[in-house]
Symmetry: C3
Subunit: 190 residues, 3 copies
């Protein structure tokens, strides 16, 4: 079986939900693509802050990304793995697919889980989150980004045969999002 991808726009709550998931009896181990890329970039003396990654030369990013994906694919042999990543990343050149063809071939996801929230909830979370250098965006732009992410997810599914599951992560009900994630993972044959 392939890996499970958990994606969503910045500040949708991926890490919060996955930290809570780790406290359940899940067999899945979470790998955060950003963390892995950061570690590798720091190791190679390339940068200081996680959110600078996006501002690197595309070819540098792609090289890091390729190396990380290969490492993850290796580790996924025999272990149920959740890959925490972006479905698409906003760049000055437009929406960049988080999982282009070659990444999909390496990861072979069996399920892509899209965490979503109301755009205004996401905006407020970004404003409140002072630990990250988040780009602020209008609600309409966050809404567009979420819509684009769904489209990317369907294209990824076509490549891989993966299913696409949308899970809402509202402010008032993180536990509900975690419960739905647990239920989805239980339906996956490991």
């Amino acid at each position: 079986m392939g890996v499970i991808v958990v994606a969503g726009v910045p500040a949708v709550g991926k890490t919060t939900v996955l930290v809570k998931l780790a406290k359940t009896k899940t067999k899945f181990k979470v790998i955060n693509v950003g963390d892995e890329m950061l570690a590798l970039a720091v190791e190679r003396g390339l940068l200081k802050h996680r959110d600078d990654l996006r501002k690197q030369h595309p070819s540098v990013q792609e090289e890091l990304w390729r190396d990380v994906v290969e490492k993850i694919a290796d580790r996924a042999e025999g272990t149920p793995i959740i890959v925490e990543t972006y479905c698409s990343v906003k760049t000055p050149k437009g929406y960049m697919p988080g999982l282009p063809q070659w990444a999909l071939k390496a990861l072979r996801p069996s399920t892509i889980i899209l965490l979503e929230a109301d755009p205004d909830e996401i905006l407020v979370r970004r404003v409140k989150d002072t630990s990250r250098l988040r780009d602020l965006e209008y609600v309409a732009h966050i809404e567009e980004h979420q819509r684009m992410d769904r489209v990317f997810a369907m294209a990824y599914a076509t490549f891989t045969g993966a299913t696409v599951k949308m899970i809402m992560n509202h402010d008032s009900s993180v536990e509900k999002a975690v419960a739905e994630l647990v239920k989805t993972l239980e339906g996956i044959y490991v």
Copy 2:
């Protein structure tokens, strides 16, 4: 030339429209993927009711699906064929692409026809249809499913170069849907 795919969410009226099509002077022969899979599953002693198919272990479904697709691809040699299937199937793990990469490679559709209807028309049809074990859904969920199916269809088109045609199948005008289908098929060089 490749096959023609006719897809749409459950109860959109695929079978009704295609039965009426068969009564016209069309050269196209209809193959229903669900029927073929059911026949094969029964032959292999796997299940009793068509709507249980979705509840089978994914690997069983995939094996059946692969065998059926190959059979259809064989039969399509030299005969104009319409494949009646789903663009995507709702599973506990999310939307499952009905025509992932490997299926598209085998079938090489030249046109994908998406039958659509108003979500509330579809809901009423599902409630009325007592011959099938249909899962009931809210109107908003049916709307989402139709939107996702369009996205999947575009991804399928990118893989294959197929065109994507949306045809509305309203309660009051099945004949109109059939006429539009006939016209579309006439535009296809056989």
Copy 3:
């Protein structure tokens, strides 16, 4: 690096924007797929008017398209090139992908720029443009076409890793669209 694709529905203003771009200090050279296909078709004695291209037998169109794409891919070696084309083309058989898999493999776009405008602006431009044989469409259909083009663009991005950038080209602000295009191209490492 691959080529830059600039796409958009008929009368969105692709040519206008690109003619203005050519007057800036851009390094990019624009190639219009329609012009190239027309030249080739005339050379082969196939047709008289550009807008007849769409009405040709699909296999004729595909052959022309393949030859043009190969020519463009050749010319793009070492030169920064913008390819002006359609994301999808409306045909009697439905939406036809402008850049199916094999075209993407040849062109390897690094960025896909989608020019968009309000559907009613596009309608008025089509009505006013007497130099082209444009099919008239309802505003709702133009809106749908633009929505489908976004979906196709994301599928293309998944294939190639290209980014997708939407740029609005309003009646009152062509200069703004050109400026945004210039800025986007500056972000592209040539």
